[in-house]
Point group: C2
Chain length 414, copies 2
Amino acid sequence: MIKLDEIKTLDKQDPLHSYRDQFSLPKNTIYLDGNSLGALPTRVKQRVKAVTEQQWGEDLISSWNTHDWVSLPQQVGNKIAPVIGANPGDVICCDSISVNLFKLLSAAVQFNTSRQRNKIISSSDNFPTDLYIAQGLQGLLGSEKCHFVDVEEEQLLSQIDDSVAIVLVTEVNFRSGKRLDIAALTRKAHQHGALIIVDLAHSAGVMPIHLNDWQVDMAVGCTYKYLNGGPGAPAFVYVNRALQGRLQQPIAGWFGHRSPFEFSPHYVADTGIKQFLAGTPSVISMAAVDAALELFADLDLQSVRTKSLQLGSLFDELIEQHGLQDKLQRLSPTEPEQRGSQLSYAFDYAYELCQALIDRGVIADFRAPNYIRFGFAPLYNSFEDIWHAVQAINDVIASEAYKEPRWSKRQAVT
Amino acid sequence: MIKLDEIKTLDKQDPLHSYRDQFSLPKNTIYLDGNSLGALPTRVKQRVKAVTEQQWGEDLISSWNTHDWVSLPQQVGNKIAPVIGANPGDVICCDSISVNLFKLLSAAVQFNTSRQRNKIISSSDNFPTDLYIAQGLQGLLGSEKCHFVDVEEEQLLSQIDDSVAIVLVTEVNFRSGKRLDIAALTRKAHQHGALIIVDLAHSAGVMPIHLNDWQVDMAVGCTYKYLNGGPGAPAFVYVNRALQGRLQQPIAGWFGHRSPFEFSPHYVADTGIKQFLAGTPSVISMAAVDAALELFADLDLQSVRTKSLQLGSLFDELIEQHGLQDKLQRLSPTEPEQRGSQLSYAFDYAYELCQALIDRGVIADFRAPNYIRFGFAPLYNSFEDIWHAVQAINDVIASEAYKEPRWSKRQAVT
């Protein structure tokens, strides 16, 4: 039987406790949706104001040089690099995950397909945009050149053979929170001559990632979840150093040119990670990401992972302590190490439960058709948050408050 | 002989005079670079603060619904529509010009090429990113499917024949400021069965544009120049209603799906303009654009064009009045109606002239190898600005201050 006192002690002993003070969190709210949209780091407010009012407003065009807007994509990329186990110079911040996946998949298809090897393989439960981008590329190039196949997540490893050109996976499943073994998938891919592209949307910033050590070929990721870069913030691209300069991505915008400011009519790709830029960077949004990443400068991601697993396990135990485990059907793996930083449950009234929790100041996430996700952000979620959240869930379920007819359907955004 | 008093009278009589008060302009600066980066509309400051601190900070994930972030791309598109002569529902705000051109060119190639008709034709003096994107697409699809050809700007109209699938043009040339006759190019393209894609980067917001009346097929444009949306702000896409639903763009991200929040593993494109979305919209940057566009709500673009031409003509006359016309070689057309809203001059020391002008508080734009651009933004530039700018140019050239050895080479950004 876990008691609130013990939980308060956990918070006092938490080595990450002071990070919470660096966020602007709404009062009387327990926010368990950082896996969808990370909270606002206080320092981002000042940076956004400065970049808008001083840099744009006062210094205008000269800011491209004086405030070095022109290299923001690299600067931000270099701050992301240690978070994902990459070297500086191998990561760049730009565009959205969708656009970046299109660049990487196109480059990989051109580099690694042949008549015998033309498959892109992914799991059918991958995040939809990843699947859609592969489908869109197949539509453009034709299925002889680029044949997209999706298989059950559990079959993915065994289905990698010599017909596969590209393995496209997301480290942590957005729905179940299940974490895949990227090192093992990479080894298998390479044994069969395939490239691997990893989507880190639900893992970057909340656990150690070792792209270099795992020898991952390419990756994309999101800055607006556990990296707290702001709604729809620019995404990132990683390309293994061994592949840089050997790939050609087709969205050949001027920022990917070797010398964009020569205004030559002929495209010559930059030989480094800069090739993966396309258009002019979105300065205000990217400056927000840059400021948010300062929180990660001296952060030990292993301690983040440890707390993330503790938060999840506590949640799980409290669900059981309230006897809710028969009502909420857990989709996430039983073994904590196999999870990302979320717990997902199927529940017939998941949408209504989510709304009733909002009424009680607990923010979780509904996903069609019938499940609810609770995300744990170790930088600002406390153990006490978990205690009160599960109390609220128990209150709603015990009272059947979720059956109130007043909820109107809403859209949900990852 | 034009005198300062007459110019002050012009400002007093200017029907757009009050717009200048709606911008936060730096003191003691004459900003003639709004064709590169528009100035900061004061209202954008409040909007950026609100979207960051209240919407993101306080309302967090619920803002996708309560603040309708989810339809920002359409809302902003609908505000751009009247500025470019389009109907609501035919324009959407997203990504960069480079990424958007890739979407449109790919869709157009799939729709309109055949063995006999496989050319994309553009002018070799088009803005480089437009050329690069066509080159990148040819690299991906092969030159049998997609054969990119660039010709001299003057030859463009005559080179459109039945082998051309797509005409790719920018209405106003970024270098010379020359304005092309889009209506005539569109007629010629259609006579030969070609589609036309128009880049409005240097025209949107500074002159009337009539995409619907001209029957243009597709267009892209920039919000950070004359629309004042902020550095690297999201661009826009226009697709003629007659083509919507008949095209398939390949960057098939989840926001272009008919029902993105069903999280289906199969991509089904939206049948309207929403298909041209890819990833999650960049909310902070797009909210800035949204606020900036409020200035255009009741604006008569013909009066903007009239003032733009007056500012340019005054600049031209004052250059002549100072006897500078032999030193600065004008690249822009002589006839004002054939110009956009800029004047460009070749000058051996263009870079140094630009720097010496900055020292005197006049901001213009250097472009490699040897020319200087002066952009006229009728919403915040006054006639008196022009007077003082040309005074400063005359001062620098007469004193040969541009020969001072202290200038260090800088990069220039459009």
